[in-house]
Symmetry: D2
Subunit: 308 residues, 4 copies
């Protein structure tokens, strides 16, 4: 992991029709990703519906994936919970189940102050047997991790990396550049969570990407990563634009009937189902399932991208 | 509970210096509240630091309180978690531990749509052996429960009550008036979570109040409730204004050092410690503790209110 | 004005079909309000569509109304603009046209800091020949005026009153109580902008109300004010509840076709047109007009309230 | 203008100590920019403190700059105002004064719906003698222009370009790619308002940039633009990183004393003063001026960047 680079998909969590973990589909999905050349797996992230999984289900996911990949590539696990004591419980669970690193957001539900966020990460790092990666996702936790705080915690050795799902490329760049130039920071992974500007993030120095859409088209993102590293900016941009068009599937769900999460995660799972990777496209409660017309729309995106 | 009325404090969770549940202090706090005449207890709410307690700690709190009050007054328990499957796990835990009703927020972390919020409550009610009360707390979950949705779920028998911590008296009134006039709604409890306009809420028809400050001064809120019910508006207003001044303690913490939760919950616990009710004023991680000067400020509020 | 009390409607601005000021309708509307017993008029507020009127139109409105009422009751004029220099230009215009007081929001468009808001009001007061009333309307300007800042500026003599359209009754109460007890504050008017809890605001000590719906039913709000002052809380509450039901008209517009302002202001004007007070229900550009079915809905609200 | 490309600085508005337009300094600033090779000038934008200038001052700025450049390069003028009728008044003023194009935000103060934003731009275009450029600045107007709406209005011929100050590179890319591939869109300028990822924006196909920091270092941004167009990504990135470091000056102001606008605009003007371009670093009311230590901090940024 020194540092983690390349494509690290946030692995979807296939469910059975009665909303239990579909272990067989999960294993097929992992193979689908690993065979495409991804360089790590991130389970129990937002795209994995971690917020919707019970602790028992979360543990089963980590155990299943860690056992299956058997150390061939690193398995990062989200420890999504509200505050330090609860996150530490999640850390204990996922590391017992085999996670190689944990990915933790700022506290949520309770309002937070930068001093409290710093305490949070210091306490998590002190209690975690594996490296801690910060997860910046203001759409979910309603706090933006300040770049200077991330760099300070990186310099202290508290954080081993950042997964940035904020959409704020300027703040992301501040971390990338700061991590490169800071005398006390080394082996710090800066990963973008964006599907839509991986080319730009890599061009400005990011180590890798954690795009949810890589579940659907891992080969595309691996190609994009390789083209970017080879300096072939024109073909990288063309690949990125193809993936941007494919990403349009996240709007397949009718906004009068469902929220953005139901639509986006429903589309990813419908696409995986249509591509034959998973058995059932169900998403967790209380998300609203896509209807037949909405699934047809997902199919058209796949067809246009040459994936059907 | 048909319906719940009066003062129902959200019970603080006393901690030991090493952040374990201080059972003896918790029992003393419960006695302090019950002796003052409160009509129910709400454990594991936001004021209880539920977002900071592990599942083991949450269970211990409910067991301790439910066993202690032994059915003499209803014990409501928060089931604060992100989404339906996780909330249902919390429901199973707190009802096994003796809760008489559960209090559930809208989903959080994942973005939500009214249709998803409705599904959420319907599934919780279907899976709960005890009545479900909706908890409207947009500052924490970043969604406001729409009044018409609350009324619809009340009419369906999904919800048994509402705890409104939104600060939006107009929306609250819409539920109060709607619940009174709707042909399919009966025995629905509408409770304000405000410390600062309990008199107004009761005057417009609320059933009761769940003020965090009632931990510190339960006699004051019980008096306010009785004066309001007796129609003695002038003395009710004077009592309310005294409590508003006392509430100023929530700003005791320096905003340059800590967030609003650290300051407010720290002040309530410092006040309970200064009044001799609990042994230790510690708040859960990663909240920042009040310093000596800040605690002194809390003491002055108590002195001014005649509580020391 | 020492201080202003009672019902002070934010006067709608009737327009012709080609969106010019309809002076005759404006005069009829003013008579409709004055005859009902209101105690002041607030022109160029948000309900007046001030944000949609050109400076020429704004001046015409103030001149028309000030000349017509001829000092019989105070005419307050909004000076809605982004920052201090532009607001001072508006102050010069509306006072030249006869305004007795100006009503100014916090700066908007540019982000603001409490220190900048304080400077803003101090400079406006220094440059205004008439008293300055603060207008707290976070939905429009995206800043909440802090209660302690309002009280400080009141004590300095910078502000002569507050119109609070924030919906935050707790903060409003802090100003009401603070203004009553502060040794350096006298004759300071605290007015609620709410339509929906005027009874509660008056009960806790507000001086008056500035409800947009008072355009449609001024007699109702004047009655409510008198009942409240007479201490007849039961009839006051019943009157308030009738007005709350009437206020439902603001949702007449289809939210798929238009924003909340188009719907609410369109409903008020449609109601005034249906009641025969104004000639044309047009709202200013780019607001979307109500369609026939939506206007029919407004009519039903009027009928239910006994106003047709 | 077919279409506008390259660096188009949003020109600061130098003020005298008594906050009048400093025409001589403005002319020197324009020469400083034009001599560096910029390809257009954007006056009356947010960086120009348009929100703080009276209509008289705004007119003087446009007249001064338009007359001075005499058609050698295009002069775009902001028409920052709340709603359609007021913006149309601004359009009349700035085009009478010589503006070659107008730059208009979504409506603000009143809440807006996409249908209202579309009406707004259609009415402005119908009433403007010069091309209309959309200005996407959610931090100021609290609405994000949806990419599909911008593209629709571009295809209709309503909009001639977009200045995107949203910080959202993914949405920006959607417009860039959409404008390139849409059959009905041609000569549409997509300009980023970012200082911090101009290299990325140009790499993904943007036509140009409107960075406020280009006031301070126009040569840097012109160099960055040329390196990017020449495909010299390594040197472009190095230049961009130098400019990112320089941009740190926007945090020179103490956040306990002032808001972000006071700090950023104060720093740009202090830098222009220190570089000898303008006579006085004053910003408009109610912004808080930088103090001596804060100005010293700005000087250090200039020194580090080799600009002193």
């Amino acid at each position: 992991m020194n540092p983690l680079t390349g494509v690290v998909p946030p692995v979807c969590t296939p469910l059975t029709p009665d909303r239990e973990i579909d272990v067989h589909s999960l294993l097929r999905l992992v193979d689908h990703l690993v065979d495409a050349g991804v360089q790590g797996l991130f389970v129990l992230g937002s795209t994995s519906e971690a917020a919707f999984l019970t602790d028992r289900q979360r543990r089963l996911v980590v155990e299943t994936v860690a056992l299956h990949v058997g150390g061939k590539l690193p398995v990062l696990a989200g420890v999504i919970d509200m505050t330090t004591p609860r996150v530490l419980d999640q850390v204990a669970r996922v590391t017992a189940a085999g996670a190689d690193a944990v990915v933790a957001t700022a506290p949520f539900y309770a309002s937070t102050h930068p001093a409290e966020i710093a305490r949070h990460y210091r306490l998590i790092a002190a209690g975690s047997p594996v490296p801690v990666i910060a997860y910046d996702i203001p759409a979910a936790v309603h706090t933006k991790l300040p770049a200077d705080l991330v760099l300070k915690l990186a310099a202290e050795g508290v954080l081993a990396g950042l997964k940035d799902s904020s959409g704020d490329l300027a703040g992301f760049r501040e971390v990338v550049t700061g991590a490169r130039t800071h005398p006390d920071i080394s082996d710090f992974s800066v990963l973008t969570g964006s599907e839509l500007f991986v080319d730009a993030a890599l061009a400005l120095g990011a180590d890798g990407a954690v795009p949810g859409l890589a579940n659907v088209d891992p080969h595309g993102y691996v190609r994009l990563d390789r083209l970017s590293r080879a300096g072939d900016r024109h073909r990288a941009r063309a690949e990125q634009e193809r993936l941007c068009a494919l990403f349009g599937m996240v709007r397949a769900g009718d906004p009068a009937r469902m929220g953005g999460s139901s639509s986006a995660l429903g589309a990813f799972k419908a696409a995986l189902h249509l591509r034959g990777v998973i058995d059932c496209p169900a998403t967790a409660h209380p998300q609203v399932p896509l209807g037949p017309e909405e699934i047809e729309r997902v199919g058209k995106f796949l067809a246009t991208a040459g994936l059907l």
